[in-house]
């Protein structure tokens, strides 16, 4: 199957720090991919470069066979890449429902119907008209998660979806991610929780100091000497 996302030799520097250093990777449609690495290894920066929030210094990003590097974030979103953030970024003074509606285009009625379905799906329908800023951390996380589903993107980047979410909620979230995969969506997630990564992902990429250290199935990655060294030292 052809790659849905292709990153080639991507470089991003911040002053003297090379946050992402010649990273290449390729994602196939309909699979769940993981991105791990110690703090500061460039995971979020890589996500930001893919979604256009940061401009890369060199290299290329291709989505469905067309280059997307250099496009604005909103253009990349409309090509079919949605994302969530490591630090929650709901719109606090919009209600939960409005947070979902605002990202839609076209007819209002079907958008509203979909928003209500998604709120029911994460059991937040009773809080639809509550300002998002008044919701708990976990609830805000769910709102952000379903917000990305409103427009049905083909590739979904999740930046630490499990952080700060309780176990019950987390299991539901992971089921939702699997269901998305079964519907043909591609998921790419950054996660520190190894149980989540190992249980969910088909392929895992490891970043260290901005460079791709390893790539492979979870079992192989877990046993990889270099990965263990990157996390725990020699």
């Amino acid at each position: 199957m052809a790659a849905i996302l292709q990153v080639r030799n991507l470089v991003k520097r911040f002053g003297g720090v090379t946050a992402v250093n010649r990273v290449s990777l390729s994602l196939e449609a309909g699979k769940i991919y993981g991105l791990i690495g110690p703090n500061g290894s460039g995971k979020t920066t890589l996500f930001n470069c893919i979604t256009g929030i940061e401009a890369s210094d060199s290299g290329a990003v291709g989505f469905k066979g067309r280059r997307i590097d250099g496009l604005k974030p909103h253009q990349i979103f409309h090509r079919g890449i949605g994302r969530t953030f490591q630090i929650i970024r709901v719109f606090p003074e919009l209600t939960a429902l409005e947070n979902l509606l605002v990202v839609t285009t076209g007819d209002f009625a079907p958008a509203r119907q979909r928003a209500e379905e998604l709120l029911r799906f994460v059991k937040l329908e009773a809080l639809a008209d509550e300002y998002a800023g008044n919701l708990s951390y976990g609830q805000q996380k769910l709102v952000e998660f379903i917000r990305v589903l409103m427009t049905d993107p083909e590739l979904i980047l999740l930046d630490e979806p499990a952080a700060g979410v309780n176990r019950t909620l987390l299991n539901e979230l992971l089921e939702a991610v699997k269901a998305l995969r079964d519907r043909g969506k591609t998921i790419f997630l950054v996660e520190h929780d190894m149980k989540v990564v190992m249980g969910l992902c088909e392929t895992v990429f490891v970043l260290d100091h901005g460079e791709k250290l390893a790539e492979g199935p979870p079992g192989v990655i877990q046993a990889d000497e270099r990965v263990i060294e990157a996390y725990f030292g020699r």
């Binding site: 974030p73 909103h74 949605g82 606090p92 209002f108």
Partner: protein, 308 residues
């Protein structure tokens, strides 16, 4: 708070009806006072459109007022009928907003606020400099005309129109998108919202009414000069009215304008030097005690819809 929503529309209709027949028995002074109140509602409401909704604070919004004043005055002197000239003032203000907004709104953050502060100063100096067109520091005198009652209706119409426009915007997806810029611009971009385009739209809309009322005010005063139509204190008053009433709401700017203008007429007129001190004190108090303004506090407390 349910009964609130029931009596509000008829009360509003009654108020509008009373205001529309007010000139039948009003004194000349009363009409002048009311048309100024309408002007302040239109100005505060316009500032709210860009700064209350998108969070991009304009420290130079009086620039559009001054632009409208000069454009209208010049057109009137050239023989154009004043209502048409005032519309011309609105158009010129929108053109100015486009010229300044196109480069400045591409940037995220505080650059826009600083650019707007500079814009007003630059325009004031330019109005003094281009004597051939503007009369320079001597100002421009318009032909004498008693049109207070007609200007009263024109100002009222603009105030109603901007408030109506705000209602339409705040209750639409367009308005929600403007608010996402205030809430989190990076997230808005990442969720597919072309924030630059929406900021430009809001800015152009927010410049039109100040341009028109600037023109109407010029016709009403009959004489304008650079310092009378580009005063920084006008921008500050707009800001205070909106912050006091509730930024980002529909009725907050109206409420803020009515309360502060009434206060100004009753109290400050007797203590002219206390004017700026009091404005400053209100800013500090509002920011510290109720940063959301009167309506903002009520909305939060009772979880009211944004339309109240």
């Amino acid at each position: 708070m349910k009964h609130w929503t029931r009596w509000f529309p008829p009360a509003l209709a009654l108020a509008l009806l009373l205001l529309s027949v007010y000139p039948l028995w009003a004194t000349g002074y009363g009409i002048r006072v009311m048309l100024q109140l309408f002007m302040w509602i239109a100005l505060a409401q316009s500032w709210n459109l860009i700064s209350g909704l998108t969070g991009y604070v304009s420290f130079g919004h009086v620039a559009f007022f001054g632009m409208g004043s000069y454009a209208t005055a010049i057109l009137v002197v050239k023989g154009v009928a004043w209502p048409l000239a005032a519309v011309g003032g609105g158009v010129m203000a929108v053109v100015l907003a486009f010229v300044i907004g196109w480069p400045c709104l591409r940037l995220k953050g505080p650059y826009f606020a600083i650019a707007m502060l500079g814009l007003n100063e630059v325009l004031r100096v330019m109005a003094s400099y281009f004597e051939g067109l503007t009369g320079g520091g001597l100002g421009l005198s318009l032909p004498t005309l008693d049109a207070s009652v007609r200007i009263y209706y024109a100002m009222g119409l603009v105030a109603v129109a901007v408030t109506g426009l705000t209602y339409l915007i705040v209750t639409s997806r367009f308005g929600l998108r403007l608010m996402t810029i205030r809430e989190d611009e990076v997230a808005a971009e990442a969720m597919g919202i072309n924030t630059f385009r929406y900021k430009i739209y809001a800015f152009l809309l927010s410049a039109a009414a100040p341009g028109i009322v600037g023109g109407l005010a010029a016709r009403d005063m009959g004489y304008i000069e650079p310092i009378s139509v580009f005063p920084l204190v006008t921008t500050i008053t707009m800001i205070v009215m909106v912050l006091f009433g509730g930024k980002g709401t529909i009725w907050g700017p109206v409420l803020g304008a009515v309360i502060l203008f009434t206060f100004q007429e009753l109290v400050w007129a007797h203590f002219p030097h206390a004017h700026q001190v009091l404005l400053g004190a209100i800013i500090v108090t509002v920011v510290l005690v109720m940063p959301r303004g009167i309506l903002g506090v009520l909305q939060q407390k009772y979880n009211l819809p944004r339309t109240v």
